[in-house]
Amino acid sequence: MTQIQYYDANQIEGRSMTIVLDNGKLETISKNSSKGAGIRALCHGSWGYTSIDGETDLETGIKNASELAASMNKSTPKEKVILGEVPKRKVASMPSIKVNPEDISVEDKVELLREIEKYAKAEGIKSTRVSYSESLLTTRFLNSEGEEREYKTVRSGFSVSAVAADGNNYQAGRESRFNISGYEIFEKNDPYELAKNAANTALELLNAKTPKGGALPVILDPELAGVFTHEAVGHASEADLVLQNDSVLSGKLGQKIASSQITVIDDPTIHEYGYYPFDAEGVASEKTILIKDGVLNSYMHSRETAGVFEGVSGNSRAQGYAMPVVRMSNTYIDKGDASFEEILEDIKDGIYLIGSRGGQVNTGEGVFQFNAEKGYLIKNGEISDLVRDVSLSGQTLDILNQIKMVGKDVKLHAGHCGKSGQTVPVTDGAPHISIAKATVGGA
């Protein structure tokens, strides 16, 4: 058998729980326990990967992955993969968990959710939904270079949504907070206040207008600007996409690609939802400056892509024991120096887009589309009418260059990122930013 030059294994054991309270009814209490492993082996230029649910015998797994790799290499030989060196790093402080969520009884959790729901059930609210989830994972990593790691992570979070209705007009408001945290998540965030906000948003939107679409000056709030940062800039900075010609940032390292006020950072060491102490290749995590003062500074790497670009790895992640891919962690536009009032005054006439209902990006062509939760028209430097069903679309590079002002109020928002069929926890964020002109969709 051809020589296997490298193998690694991630063995993960976890417990998770979800509680859903829907319209006053405790709809779901769901608990899951799982164990399994994902094993990779590299033979020249071919990767073999196996994943096994349940009790796993790593030795057999390594043998199976190695056989796959060797047989791939035999039938479709290709250039040798040179893995990047593992950077020598110390792991920064691990997040401390104050209240283990498993120490709180299910009854107490349910009671808290009921309490939260009361605040969302404002007058005029037709239905509400409150959910809570927690997960406790133990990850064991080992590779053929003799590295071994074991660490535990605890994540928890909640979301609350409210729907208001007026005839056939239905509008929703939603707030959520997730973190690398124990049950203290409910102390760090005021769930009652968030529930009220969700209800208010739904109610206000009932009477909001749909604006005329067109190219307009735009202000993005930290949440929507964060979605743009993650979807349009972050994904295009993932070296695997760059290598497969699927990034508008391909071949642009060292070039000015954005307004010089823009610095974009990915930082897995921050104790937020996207935190990890080691990546899925056992590499201690570290912050990466993707764009520095408008210049494309670095891509994010796995060991394989780091080997190609002479970059530094640390962004290889996987959902559970799936095959690791290059992923983001906590990604944000760094703070600038403008206050929100200055940004507003500078824009004069345009639209202020707030929150996100998701979006999508074509990283290869650098085209994106995001839907805002709501917006306000800006007239004469002042916030005026509330609008709904507004979306933002455009070309990533064009928008990056059209950024006029960058605020100082960076906020991170937790969410889940899907890529290659895998979902991982991330945060994204930004301060308020303004864009000279962007396409806003409406009626």
Partner: protein, 460 residues
């Protein structure tokens, strides 16, 4: 007899996992009888096992071969109508997991609206869901399918894959409950996906994919179609803001339906009043030539099976008939609540999640014609991005059209660089006025190209 064959097969399907269907079944039966002692009035256990092989390529290089197996139990236990759920993939943990599900149910308040889990029933076999040739596929054969896609892409000048892959999967599912229901089924599928771009010069991208229950899939055509579409999309023109006819390719139409109409006919959303179709049964909600059926019995259908994930026999449900809203889609719980029969639409993401209402095969019927040739001026949209951001209650959406083309005088004239389309699904259903002859199965949604008489379109 058929069942005997199936179980004998299940062992052969997963030779490396050493599963014994008889042992699993007796373990499940033992656990079910224990559930009563633990205080559950009813219990249900599913076991599923799946095995898959996938081959991934990046650019024109085959990079990774993956083999995965997943197996586990999902348990629902009922106490006073409240349903607790627990899942595990540790085979030795079945009884513990049952206890967890019962304990959760005990914490929940009584639910008088819960009727019961499905009763024992008889099932009709659905043809074309299992292909021995997929079970037997060797790694080299899998690699060949991937290579065929790559050469399909490269047969078009200046085109190269960005990424893509082939995958084959074999699955087996067993369900039993304390009402004496026991059922098992198996399935196979192959699929291919290719994302392509230009090798040099102006960037233009496109994708295509295919999925089949049988080993017959033209992988080379998947690559070639994507490449040709990307090529045709080069040198795009710009358009202004206009109202005009829009023709949606099955990919884009299915994407929009899945995110708007699908949640609207889900009985759970109806009962919670989170749907624009609450109280609309019997109303004319679409053009009277439009009919939509949800059919879990479709031969060879991607979402077909003789029963759903709760053991309810699948059926053909008329959702919209000649423009009239005829039925919502139900699982057993929502059906019990409305005093109707489940439509066999109780599905799970995996054994580790409780079932909920989902589409099976959602089939769009409209008189077919040469719809592009009959359009004087309009646009043709192959795919959209952002459909999942639609407001699923109001049905409003705003999406970016990709690989879009201008139609002039009955012909596709030139590509359009960037176009946003906003609309509302309920408004669209009324305005459907044409369908192509190009029916495709997009996941479980089976549809031709669909023309909407007028929509709001905004160019750059």
């Amino acid at each position: 007899m058929a069942k005997m064959n199936m179980s004998a097969n299940a062992e052969k399907m997963f030779p490396e996992n050493n599963i014994s269907v008889d042992e699993i079944r007796s373990g499940i039966e033992k656990a079910l009888s224990l559930s009563e002692k633990l205080g559950a009035s009813e219990a249900e256990i599913v076991f599923s096992i799946g095995e898959s092989t996938s081959i991934q390529f990046k650019k024109d290089i085959i990079e990774t071969a993956k083999k995965s197996t997943g197996a586990g139990y999902g348990i629902r236990a009922v106490v006073n109508g409240a349903v607790g759920f627990a899942g595990t993939n540790l085979m030795s943990d079945l009884e513990n997991t049952l206890r967890t599900a019962v304990d959760s149910a005990k914490v929940m308040e009584a639910d008088p609206l819960f009727k019961s889990f499905p009763e024992k029933d008889s099932y009709k076999e659905v043809a074309g869901l299992f292909d021995d040739k997929i079970v037997e596929m060797s790694l080299d054969e899998c690699i060949e399918c991937a290579t065929d896609m790559i050469s399909g892409v490269k047969s078009v000048e200046n085109m190269i894959p960005t990424s893509g892959g082939f995958s084959r999967s074999v699955s087996y599912f067993m369900i039993a409950n304390t009402n004496g229901l026991f059922a098992q089924r198996k399935g196979t599928a192959v699929s291919g996906f290719a994302d392509v771009t230009t090798e040099s010069g102006e960037v233009s991208t496109a994708y295509d994919y295919g999925v089949s229950r049988k080993k017959e899939l033209d992988f080379s055509a998947i690559g070639k179609n994507a490449a040709e579409l990307a090529k045709k999309s080069l040198k795009g023109t710009t358009i202004g803001a206009e109202k005009m006819p829009v023709i949606f390719h099955p990919f884009s139409f299915a994407d929009i339906l899945e995110n708007t109409l699908a949640p609207s006919v889900d009985a759970d959303n109806i009962q919670k009043e989170r749907s624009g179709l609450v109280g609309r049964l019997g109303d004319e909600i679409a053009n009277d030539e439009l009919s939509i059926t949800d059919d879990g019995t479709l031969a060879g259908g991607i979402s077909s099976g003789s029963f759903d994930d709760e053991g309810t026999p699948t059926q053909k449900t008329s959702v919209i008939e000649n423009g009239i809203l005829k039925s919502y889609l139900y699982d057993s719980y929502t059906a019990g609540k409305d005093n109707v029969k489940s439509t066999g639409n109780g599905y799970r993401y995996s054994y580790s999640s409780a079932p909920g209402v989902d589409l099976s095969n959602f089939i769009i019927h409209f008189p077919q014609s040469d719809v592009i040739a009959e359009t004087k001026r309009g646009i043709y949209i192959n795919t959209v991005i952002g459909a999942h951001t639609a407001n699923e209650i109001s049905g409003d959406f705003s999406v970016e059209g990709r690989n879009a083309f201008l139609i002039e005088n009955g012909e596709i004239s030139k590509p359009i660089k960037s176009v946003m389309i906003s609309g509302n699904i309920f408004d669209m259903l009324q305005k459907i006025d044409g369908a192509g002859k190009d029916v495709r199965s997009v996941g479980g949604i089976v549809t031709p190209s669909i023309r909407i008489s007028e929509m709001s379109v905004i160019g750059e």
